[in-house]
Amino acid sequence: MPDATGLELIAQRVREKVGDEAVTGTLYYRRHATLDVAPSSVRDVIAYLRDGEDEPWERLMSVHGVDYLPEEPRLGVHYELLSMERADRLNVRTRVGTDEPRVPSVVDLHPTADFQEREVFDMFGVVFDGHPDMRRILMPEDYEGYPQRRDFPMGGEPVIYTFNEPKLPRWYD
């Protein structure tokens, strides 16, 4: 991990090269460096970190979706960047609201994001603009709702057994 100073230097360079409003904050917690980025400039920042930096972050290892329920904006998308040469990690994080959750896709920069962005869409409803195949991946295609959101109830679907099936006709309608 870059230390707190290194993280500030990266944030400063991103502000200079990509735009002042691109970086909204930095967080260094428990040896985990996080760069907060505005949703519209996620793709530019990741492209800059991959190609423009002297010490590049050339690999994307993971994309996580998060729901920070009481906080606003609620949804978060994390990109875990890795530098194989320096064996170092950097987390790029963006926050979007639930009313219009749109983030530019990074599939053209990192093809590995294909399945992972689909998973975030499936579970949280974040739409990745420019993704070639934005469909559900784990849940059924006709499923409604985004199950990993915190306000989605646990056990929100009835479990169909033989004894209660007649009582629940077409429960899925």
Binding site: H32, M61, V66, H78, M84, F115, M139, R150
Partner: protein, 419 residues
């Protein structure tokens, strides 16, 4: 003696592909350009679980593959949000069900980082022993089922027979053969019992004679070599862009191993090598995994030799249960025990990502803590899920039979893919 091409003394002198003249990889022209879409799965023995592969064929050549997943999605990550931290461990163990120690390790590492909790040295070494035993067991099951897909059924019996020896060890230390729940936040649940060391050493000795047996069964088998050599090659750069890690990446010659790159749990104390391949075909993937088993045995042996004395779990009573005998004499221990069992421990708000090297690649665990006794989000970056994206690249423009070999050598665990 002059050798005839294709004679049994020199089986590979005439490549298999040249002998199969009836099969051509080129488009077959106007009258044969019809594409056939077939559905392999969801239930198919060669898919290692419930994986559906929508395959487009032209003759016998695979032109496109679309993996369709989600058939065993059980919402484990959602269930984790409703459990106390120490009760999440059995849940995450059921994701990648062949490498359960690794799932528990990734989760425990993430939580320990959030708690800023030091793990005692003995606990770290006990974890290494079990992780490497699990790596051997997982690779044994891979070689058993992978060889079965290619048609070598003897390897199935041999691999499962020897994996049982590792499962016996898990049963001895943790009480269960699968999903042992042996790793706890802050250490391991119990010290290894008397006799565990001897049995593990016997296991190492057995495996050191068994692995050459596997090689003599497979590595000189003409069918095996022709099915694996030169098939499923993907260039290193493509694999890196697709985020593929683990033995698949190392088979192309990239020595990326998190145990060496960012050592965790005391891996820097052990002397082991990272086996790499040269070409990156299915044969290299097979050899890399076999060599990894031997390296894992080396690590286990060193860990048994130098196992440090000391506590096996953190002495912090706010995180770890007090020893059983203290409950009879100490009121404070009883209170701690009660609080931990009923409420669990609280983790200060924050988020982190911990990555370890599982038998299939980088296994990362992201944990978001909101200050309560239950995690707000647990997400596993499962290597099988990410590696599966490389399957269409591997199989495209190859024979359908090679495609099955590619699935076998990719080694996806569908419990980990779908979670």
């Amino acid at each position: 003696m002059t050798e005839q091409p294709g004679s049994m003394t020199e089986p590979l002198s005439v490549p298999y592909r040249e002998r199969e003249r009836s099969v051509t990889m080129e488009p077959m022209g106007e009258e044969h350009d019809e594409l056939l879409t077939i559905n392999i799965g969801p239930h198919h023995p060669a898919t290692h679980g419930v994986l559906r592969l929508l395959t487009t064929l032209e003759g016998e050549i695979v032109r496109d593959v679309k993996p369709i997943i989600g058939y065993v999605h059980t919402g484990i990550e959602k269930s984790c949000e409703d459990q106390q931290y120490w009760k999440v461990i059995p849940f995450v163990e059921r994701m990648d069900y062949l490498s359960y120690y690794f799932n528990a390790m990734a989760f425990c590492m993430a939580v320990e980082r959030l708690l800023d909790e030091e793990v005692p040295e003995r606990a770290q070494w006990l974890r290494v022993i079990h992780l490497e035993l699990n790596r051997v067991a997982s690779h044994l099951f891979w070689i058993a089922t992978g060889a079965l897909d290619i048609g070598a059924i003897t390897m199935l019996w041999w691999g499962c027979r020897d994996r049982d020896l590792a499962l016996d060890l898990f049963e001895m230390s943790g009480g269960q053969r699968f999903h042992t729940r042996y790793f706890q936040v802050g250490g391991v649940v119990e010290d290894i019992p008397p006799g565990f060391e001897e049995m593990t050493r016997a296991f190492i000795k057995t495996m050191r004679t068994r692995i050459p047996q596997y090689l003599s069964l497979l590595d000189r088998n003409e069918i095996w070599l022709q099915r694996t050599k030169g098939t499923g090659i993907v260039p290193m750069e493509d694999l890196l862009a697709l985020g593929v890690t683990g033995p698949l990446l190392r088979a192309t010659g990239h020595p990326w191993d998190l145990r060496k790159a960012t050592p965790y749990s005391g891996y820097e104390n052990f002397d082991f090598k990272v086996p790499v391949g040269t070409v990156g075909d299915n044969y290299d993937r097979f050899r890399v995994r076999v060599e990894e088993m031997l390296e894992s045995l080396k690590i286990i042996e060193q860990a048994l030799d130098g196992l440090p004395e000391g506590p096996y779990i953190t002495p912090n009573r706010k995180v770890a249960l007090p020893p059983r005998h203290e409950l009879a004499t100490s009121m404070e221990a009883l209170i701690h025990h009660f609080k931990l069992v009923t409420e669990g421990f609280r983790v200060p708000p924050g988020e982190t990502y911990a990555a370890i090297e599982s038998p299939r690649g980088e296994l990362g665990c992201y944990v978001l803590a909101d200050g309560s006794a239950k995690p707000a989000r647990v997400h596993m970056r499962d290597p099988s899920f990410v590696n599966l994206q490389a399957l269409p690249v591997m199989a495209r423009d190859h024979l359908l039979a090679d495609f099955i070999a590619c699935v076998a050598m990719l080694d996806p665990i569908l419990g980990g893919v779908d979670r």
